[in-house]
Amino acid sequence: MNFRSIFTKTTQKHERLASQAVVPDPQRCVQCGICSYNCPLGIDVRLYALQGLAVVESKCLTCGECVKRCPRGVLRFDAAPLEQIPLKAAK
């Protein structure tokens, strides 16, 4: 009777990493920037989160660093939308 029963199995996790993208829930985001700071490839994940867009970027390794580090559970792996409006630059 514990929470582990709904934990993802490792094999499922690997499938997920290959087929899914980092998807934000912008309602939870406080734009602290821990995600962008910890991305090994320097993707500005926060900018995606701010606009509620999935991180659909060829550079993204789906390594999960941003998902794990986010202190507020903003990011998750999920099916990437087939089409999304492109990221608007804030830079």
Partner: protein, 451 residues
């Protein structure tokens, strides 16, 4: 060309400015701010304190973005609002005309009237400047005392502990954040703090902060009725916040605990709106005007207010405020009504450690859910749900966050849990599995709504 003035450059102010620019490419947008750091993620300061983030990372918009949006920042305090004349009097003597004004002044830390508050080493965590000040002092401090409750107190406790300072945390009552957390949750947090070396003093009231040569040297307190002298170099306070509404009071706007606004974020004065921590917003469900001090509602209010200033007709609906935060390293989500429903002086009652609302807090959480609870815990993982007839109206998810988003969606969408209710309320129900299974079906059926 319309003249827009916004007092405050925080979450609500900037969101409003962006919303105005989206509707009115030509209007003049002036943002008046007394904060030299202008705009940054205020919640991010906790992670700067703890050393997880470098300071420069919490500025989410570069200056060039502001330039492209043609925001004019006026680094001046406002002396007075003159609603009839549509004019602001600035502290430097200038006058500034506006067509529409937004008050987004936020809230400031309340400080106790204990002797010694003027000493170097007495700190709060409102702004980037406060954060920098704490970090500077922490380099040389051996011991710090933290007084207060809620999220900010723990940010101070954990931030200072992470910097190698010995932290003593004073609680007036017998447990942490009793207005929102239940005893199981308070104890989980306290146990984890103790494990990290934080010394918690229960039933402890601060009497005086003592100093020498203008610096903090010790605090005097009463612990269980006995005097306690604790030598220390810092005394940090998070006893609540007060909406910065002096300007609104002076201008004769309708205020209570904050500036009263309607569902369009309009104050009682024509062409003056308010949003964010300073606004006391109507909640249709409880029929009361309530305060929030939350990042996302501040942005949503700012957006709605900005759109309305630029000629829109946008209604802000309060719904179920929620926050995801870390308490003693444990991610915790609080959604909707989870409190005991106690009131004092017409406001939802806090706990003994705080004067009123805190940062990262919502008055709505303290309202009674008037519903039955279902709860479970395993180790540091905790789930507490409130079911009112067939819908969920509040929840606390501590530790494992697998169900945090599903529960948030089920509450916000007011999903009909009728078929699940008997199982959830049965003895020894496996709430995590029941909700996990239900969610799998729900998300498939309502995929469009959730995305």
């Amino acid at each position: 060309m319309s003249l827009y003035a916004i007092i405050g450059s925080g979450a609500a102010g900037l969101a409003a400015a962006n919303a105005i620019r989206a509707r009115d490419p030509a209007g003049q947008i002036q943002i008046l701010t007394a904060d030299p750091h202008v705009h940054y993620s205020r919640p991010g300061l906790a992670y700067v304190l703890s050393g997880e983030l470098p300071e420069k990372q919490v500025y989410q918009f570069p200056r060039e973005f502001f330039a492209r949006q043609r925001f004019e920042f006026v680094p001046a305090g406002v002396q007075a609002i003159q609603p009839e004349a549509h004019t602001l009097r600035l502290q430097d003597g200038r006058a500034l005309r506006y067509d529409r004004l937004l008050i987004a002044t936020g809230a400031a830390a309340a400080m106790p009237d204990t002797p010694g508050m003027h000493l170097e080493g007495v700190v709060k965590l409102d702004s980037m400047a406060d954060c920098q000040h704490i970090l500077k002092l922490a380099r040389h401090a051996r011991r710090a005392v933290v007084v207060g409750g809620g999220i900010t107190a723990l940010e101070l406790v954990e931030g200072l502990a992470a910097r190698g300072v010995e932290v003593h945390y004073f609680l007036r009552g017998d447990r942490y954040w009793s207005a929102v957390l239940d005893e199981v949750e308070s104890r989980i947090v306290e146990r984890r703090l103790a494990h990290d070396g934080v010394k918690i003093h229960y039933h402890t009231n601060l009497v005086e902060v003592q100093g020498q040569n203008g610096r903090v040297t010790a605090v005097q307190a009463e612990e269980n009725g006995r005097p306690l002298t604790l030598p220390c170099q810092m005394a940090a306070f998070a006893i609540g916040i007060q909406p910065r509404m002096e300007l609104a009071v002076q201008a004769g706007l309708k205020v209570q605990r904050g500036i009263i606004v309607d569902d369009h974020l309009r104050t009682s004065a024509p062409d003056v709106l308010a949003a964010g921590d300073v606004a006391q917003v109507f909640d249709a469900q409880s029929g009361q005007h309530l305060l929030d001090s939350l990042w996302t509602p501040a942005i949503q209010q700012g957006r709605a207010a900005g759109a309305n200033m630029a000629g829109g007709d946008v209604i802000y609906e309060k719904k179920f405020p929620f926050n995801v935060t870390r308490l003693a390293g444990l991610v915790t989500t609080i959604i909707g009504r989870v409190g005991k429903g106690e009131t004092a002086g017409g406001r939802p009652k806090g706990d003994a450690d705080v004067t009123g609302i805190m940062r990262g807090d919502s008055e709505l959480w303290r309202l009674s859910p008037e519903a039955v609870a279902a709860q479970t815990y395993a180790g540091d993982n905790r789930l507490r749900l409130y079911l009112k007839e067939n819908v969920m109206v509040g929840a606390v998810v501590m530790g494992d966050q697998t169900l945090s988003r599903p529960i948030q969606v089920l509450i916000q969408e007011q999903a009909d849990l009728g078929e699940l209710r008997p199982a959830l309320l049965s003895d020894n129900a496996d709430l995590a599995r029941l909700l996990g299974d239900y969610w799998e079906g729900y998300r498939v059926k309502h995929a469009a709504k959730i995305a």
